[in-house]
Symmetry: D2
Subunit: 140 residues, 4 copies
Amino acid sequence: MGLAFDARELEAYMAEIFPQVAEDFAIDTLSAEGITMRLKVAERHLRPGGTVSGPSMFALADVTVYALVLSRLGAKALAVTTNSSLDFMRKPEAGCDIIAKGQLLKLGRSLAVGDVHMFSQGSDKMVARSTMTYSIPPVR
Amino acid sequence: MGLAFDARELEAYMAEIFPQVAEDFAIDTLSAEGITMRLKVAERHLRPGGTVSGPSMFALADVTVYALVLSRLGAKALAVTTNSSLDFMRKPEAGCDIIAKGQLLKLGRSLAVGDVHMFSQGSDKMVARSTMTYSIPPVR
Amino acid sequence: MGLAFDARELEAYMAEIFPQVAEDFAIDTLSAEGITMRLKVAERHLRPGGTVSGPSMFALADVTVYALVLSRLGAKALAVTTNSSLDFMRKPEAGCDIIAKGQLLKLGRSLAVGDVHMFSQGSDKMVARSTMTYSIPPVR
Amino acid sequence: MGLAFDARELEAYMAEIFPQVAEDFAIDTLSAEGITMRLKVAERHLRPGGTVSGPSMFALADVTVYALVLSRLGAKALAVTTNSSLDFMRKPEAGCDIIAKGQLLKLGRSLAVGDVHMFSQGSDKMVARSTMTYSIPPVR
């Protein structure tokens, strides 16, 4: 399936529809195989002790799969998260961005499923993983 | 199992250790049976269109189970989220707080499991549900 | 929403379409509020040591939510499991049936979500919980 | 981390401790990177219509991660499933074995997390995915 956006176009489109989200995330790469999304870690994403918070990791996984869906279906697509699972394996390293590698496992007529592996930048130890299911309502 | 805190004491303790979290959440009730936690919905929790964002719902579920663990184990307890599942069933109503009803399903020596049902205030239609597993490292 | 079957009719219908499943499960109660499904524990459901196997618990949760969907939508309904989460909290007691209490959290046009709490018969300690999502393809 | 077993030794050990399981599964490959486990699909794994049943897919994912844990920790290891998530993406092809590719995401002192991707033999379309968490009680 072709891509409706390249990385810069998708980033610009997401900044337009989700202005709050734009300062937190950047798209490092986007291709037919998948996406690399970056959480630009700042004070507001941290828990006491310096760990990146669970909700920030959830947000990263969610936006990664949402971006994958938009990149295939284009700007007209509606998509609503219906289910997510998250496993937290390791404490992220302090002072690092989190890098999410996302892949669409399914893009059906009414459901999309994406898998996300998250790492501290520069490390190959997985910090967390997530699967997100999006429901895609019919365009009217 | 007895409670180490009442609702006001637990809220005060959580405000002390998680200052960023305190303005988002309030404990409505706390008992041996469970907890009622409120997400005080504000502009920063919303997505375009007025829906409460997924990360805000995740944060609510997470803090609900964390509060349950603290209420049983007291202030010395360490607890780290290791796994979560979330199902989003309905769009929350606009302009309403989200009310989470949480229950501990297990409080073992090394793992705690809590279940959370979330509603728009005043409605009995479930908006989302979540199960959260916390790992409880041994106190040294 | 009314019920398309009572407990005996639903059991008979499921035995007809899933003959392999009929000897494993019985419906204890069925109402507008939910269902009580019984796993009739036999040798083939056990792991060494006498625990009920994980796949048997999965099968119980799955059939419980499937029965809930059929009880609402009737025999014409198609429904396919798309997602499940399971938490195992305690070892089931030896030589007991497992009792599943199931509830539909959502019955939408294209997705149904059900929640299942599982107990050893006669105990109120939850052995496992599960959420199952079914996709409901349009009837043609 | 070194391997405590090679593929044939592990298969033999699992057949010894889980005789019921041995006729359902075979280990195709085992290495430091991961495992390939085969569900030898037979009549008893099928649903009406020829689909491999959900409980059979669950059993495959569960045994895959259990084998990964045993391969690292050796025969003395105890390990109990505490959590699982499964996503079903596509109907498996009729008359094919299911091939599971498993990988350990974490092997900590008290928790192991494994990821499993399942395919119909000869196809690269993912049929289902699962994450399984095992609790590893201390050896006494």
